[in-house]
């Protein structure tokens, strides 16, 4: 176990990048994702106006004086709101996936390693959670906790948790039957040691690859919740809620709904492509 799973993953992802037919095309989703992260981080410095309290003339068109993307119905600068609106999307999607990965991964690890009745009971609980559509599960969590950035993150994490629990359980069950695990058990190592020191490192890589793919789904779920009014509380900017606010303005100011919608779609697509590349690299690495 000289190499950590992360090092192997990085090495194989690197190998995958080198084998891609067009380096520029391969790099594009990574660059777009990085651009989103940078824009979100630097939003307070990049945004030309206050996204919440700006009081310019309402409904100014794009390329108006001082407002590149115009203003919304309440006279707030649209570009500033878009830049600041990236932040909750990134926080929720990355935070929720990290939480779901940690909780779901641990759950699946215990279930798959333990096997038997414990495994059966734990997986039936996951089946129950999976019987709810993802968005409905998230709405139920928010109905119980109330809308806020933290609660949306929790809600999206709960909706994504079964994905990781199932995958981790399948991987762990496969590893649990392998000789090195049997050897560790025969050597008298306690079960927590077997799980954490033997099985976990060997299932981490595919879980991390899966996590990258799920970020896109989490971003879309977060946007959907905001669109339903269950996300960040107005007047704080949020892309999903901006789509909702702009929807009735489609005939008079289509950019109010289309621009935030476009940003959500581009981010989800870029992250999804990144996940695909990592998955391809993982498959090639597995086959090698």
């Amino acid at each position: 176990m000289a190499d950590t799973a992360g090092q192997k993953l990085a090495a194989r992802a690197g190998a995958g990048l080198r084998l891609s037919p067009g380096a520029a095309l391969t790099a594009l989703p990574w660059m777009v994702t990085a651009l989103f992260v940078l824009a979100a981080l630097l939003a307070p410095w990049l945004a030309p106006h206050d996204p919440v309290t700006g009081r310019a003339a309402p409904m100014q068109q794009m390329f108006s004086d001082g407002h590149l993307l115009g203003t919304d119905a309440l006279g707030r600068d649209t570009l500033s709101r878009l830049l600041h609106g990236l932040r909750p999307m990134l926080v929720v999607s990355l935070g929720a996936v990290a939480l779901a990965l940690a909780a779901g991964g641990a759950y699946g690890l215990v279930s798959g390693t333990a096997g038997g009745r414990t495994d059966w009971a734990m997986m039936r609980a996951v089946d129950i959670l999976m019987s709810f559509p993802l968005i409905l599960a998230a709405i139920l969590v928010l109905a119980a906790l109330g809308p806020s950035l933290l609660n949306v993150t929790l809600a999206v994490a709960v909706s994504q948790l079964p994905i990781f629990a199932r995958l981790a359980r399948a991987l762990a069950a496969g590893e649990a039957a392998r000789d090195y695990v049997l050897a560790a058990r025969a050597a008298g190592f306690p079960e927590w040691h077997v799980m954490l020191r033997e099985v976990a490192p060997n299932i981490a890589r595919p879980l991390l690859v899966q996590a990258t793919s799920v970020v896109a789904l989490a971003a879309l779920t977060a946007a959907a919740l905001s669109y339903l009014g269950l996300g960040v509380r107005p007047p704080a900017p949020d892309l999903g809620y901006m789509v909702k606010e702009g929807q009735e303005l489609l005939f008079i100011a289509p950019e109010q709904a289309l621009l935030p919608g476009l940003l959500i779609a581009v981010f989800a697509l870029a992250v999804s492509f990144c996940g695909d590349q990592l998955a391809d690299a993982e498959r090639r690495g597995g086959a090698a």
Binding site: G229, R233, P234, E248
Partner: protein
């Protein structure tokens, strides 16, 4: 029984699948083709949804129930939203006893219900007894009609002769004529009640300008003109109320001519639609009021100076421009300009005075006070919430707004321990000035006890007296003057609400449609009997 009996009668072959597909398509297209080919002029009206149950005493739906009820039914009186006073409808007139407690309604001769049975005092009595008689087998399990008519103040219904219907009251109530024009006060056919009992809502028979001929829940209601309507047969032969919930779909349907009338268009799109040749935006009076209710028992809000400061702090010009795209009015106080009881002097209560607000807050020691505001999370409310929150924070308060779904919002609105500031909408189902005071601001009502919690204030006793006095006054002019005084008194002595804005539902019609009652449509009522096609 052999095993063969359980097999499907025929297998689905590709040919049969094609036949079924063709038949389904034809079935879907058929009704529209009939309408297009039978030569009957058809007006299409947009519904937000359609439950399909038109029980007048328990509204199962909301928007759809009122739209259909107004089109298919009528009551003793009618308010046309142009005249301030109730007009005769199924009753051709009425007399009021000297003590103001007995109303005798003369029923029009020769009228029938849609099923052909005669309308007389006994038929009217049958409808009203259903409100009051808890043993009536046709009565729905939950019936709100009596409460909406006057509750315990209504002491009896009777039919002293064949064409006279009488209502007796415990104390005078000048608003009862207006209340009788509500959609839940419509007259229902006794024969239909006998036949369908509690399912009358699914088989609704009344005496409105159009009779229901077909209902497809979640899709549409088809109504045909009724020959024996009290104002005569409507000129347009058929009304189709079609479910088109999305505003964008409504606007494209209007532009394409598939939709003739709607009152569901957002304010933001009025200017855009006005620029289109085939669409006209009707001018409606602003009967819909958005108010900011202040819980008089909640923390700093128990100090009238804080409530007055909040009232002064609201930038209503910004509200009109930003939340309603200029399609609204700055109110006076509770009574809108379109109703009796309004006076131009009330406009002083809605003047924007941030400096005055800061001074009052300072004086009350409430600068920097934290307050929560609850709002619904649909329609214009989120925009309104953001403008009001901004206004209040600019004068030194620290307000945060929670945007809630309708059910949660109402649960908290009617619980004085669960809100501090809350938005409140009042529209004019019947534009009688009492409709905005007795149910909201008189002690003992859910409004005064639970929403504004003003019932315990020392100044409330005088307000209760004034409301009772105004409602006992039968002279319209004197009554109107009393409501002017009530507005003044409530704003100066109690200030339980800040009037934020008065607006209307934008009414968009096809260019070739005239005679639509825009004032009524602008406040959720739907009177289509005078509509005509001009070409």
């Amino acid at each position: 029984m052999t095993k063969r009996d359980f097999n499907p009668p025929t297998a689905i072959t590709r040919r049969r699948f094609g036949q079924l597909l063709g038949l389904s398509g034809a079935a879907l297209a058929l009704p529209w083709r009939v309408e297009a080919q039978d030569g009957v002029e058809t007006l299409v009206f947009a519904l937000p949804g359609l439950v399909g149950n038109f029980e007048p005493h328990t509204w199962v739906g909301f928007g759809d129930t009122v739209h259909v009820m107004d089109t298919a039914a009528r009551g003793l009186t009618h308010m046309n939203f142009t005249d301030p006073l109730p007009q005769p409808a199924i009753a051709e007139g009425w007399t009021i006893s000297d003590d103001g407690r007995t109303y005798d309604f003369r029923i029009r001769e020769g009228l029938t219900f849609h099923d052909g049975t005669a309308i007389d005092a006994a038929a009217v009595l049958r409808t009203f007894r259903r409100m009051i008689d808890e043993d009536d087998p046709t009565r729905p399990e939950l019936s709100f009609a009596l409460d909406n008519l006057g509750g315990d103040n209504v002491t009896g219904f009777e039919a002293p002769d064949a064409m006279t219907f009488r209502i007796t009251l415990a104390k005078p109530d000048a608003a009862i004529l207006g209340r009788l024009s509500r959609p839940d006060m419509v007259i229902v056919s006794p024969a239909a009640l006998e036949e369908y009992g509690q399912e009358i809502g699914l088989n609704f028979v009344s005496c409105g300008p159009y009779r229901i001929v077909d209902v497809t829940p979640n899709e549409r209601v088809v109504l045909e003109a009724f020959d024996n309507f009290y104002k005569g047969r409507p000129e347009i032969g058929r009304v189709v109320m079609q479910v088109i919930p999305e505003a964008v779909a409504q606007m494209t349907s209007l532009a394409s001519g598939d939709l003739n009338v709607t009152n569901l268009i957002p304010h933001s799109n009025i200017d855009r639609l006005e620029g289109m040749e085939q669409i006209r935006i009707e001018q409606s009076a602003a009967f819909i009021s958005a108010m900011l209710a202040m819980n008089c028992e909640a923390g700093v809000l128990s100090d009238i100076r804080v409530r007055q400061a909040i009232n002064k702090a609201i930038d209503r010009e910004a509200v009109v421009a930003e939340a309603f795209f200029g399609k609204a009015e700055i109110p006076g106080y509770v009574t809108p300009a379109a109703e009796q009881g309004y006076a131009p002097e009330h406009q002083r209560f809605s003047e924007y005075d941030p400096e005055g607000a800061r001074a009052l807050l300072e004086e009350a020691g409430a600068t920097g006070a934290e307050l929560s505001l609850i709002s619904e999370n649909s329609g214009f409310w989120p925009r309104l919430g953001q403008v009001v929150e901004r206004s209040l924070n600019e004068v030194g308060l620290n307000v945060t707004t929670e945007y809630l779904d309708g059910g949660t919002f109402n649960g908290r609105l009617f619980d004085k321990t669960a809100h501090e500031l809350a938005f409140l909408q009042r529209s004019a189902f019947f534009p009688d000035p009492d409709g905005r005071f007795s149910p909201l601001f008189a002690s003992g009502t859910a409004g005064a006890d639970d929403i504004t919690a003003q019932s315990g204030l020392p100044a409330q006793a005088r307000l209760d007296e004034l409301i009772a006095q105004a409602n006992a006054e039968s002279d319209p002019e004197a009554r109107g003057q009393l409501y002017v005084e009530i507005n003044n008194y409530m704003a100066e002595e109690i200030m339980p609400i800040a009037a934020v804005v008065n607006t209307f539902l934008p009414v968009a019609v096809s260019e070739n449609v005239a005679g639509v009652n825009a004032n009524a449509l602008g406040t959720y009522r739907t009177f289509l009997e005078d509509a005509t096609f001009t070409s």
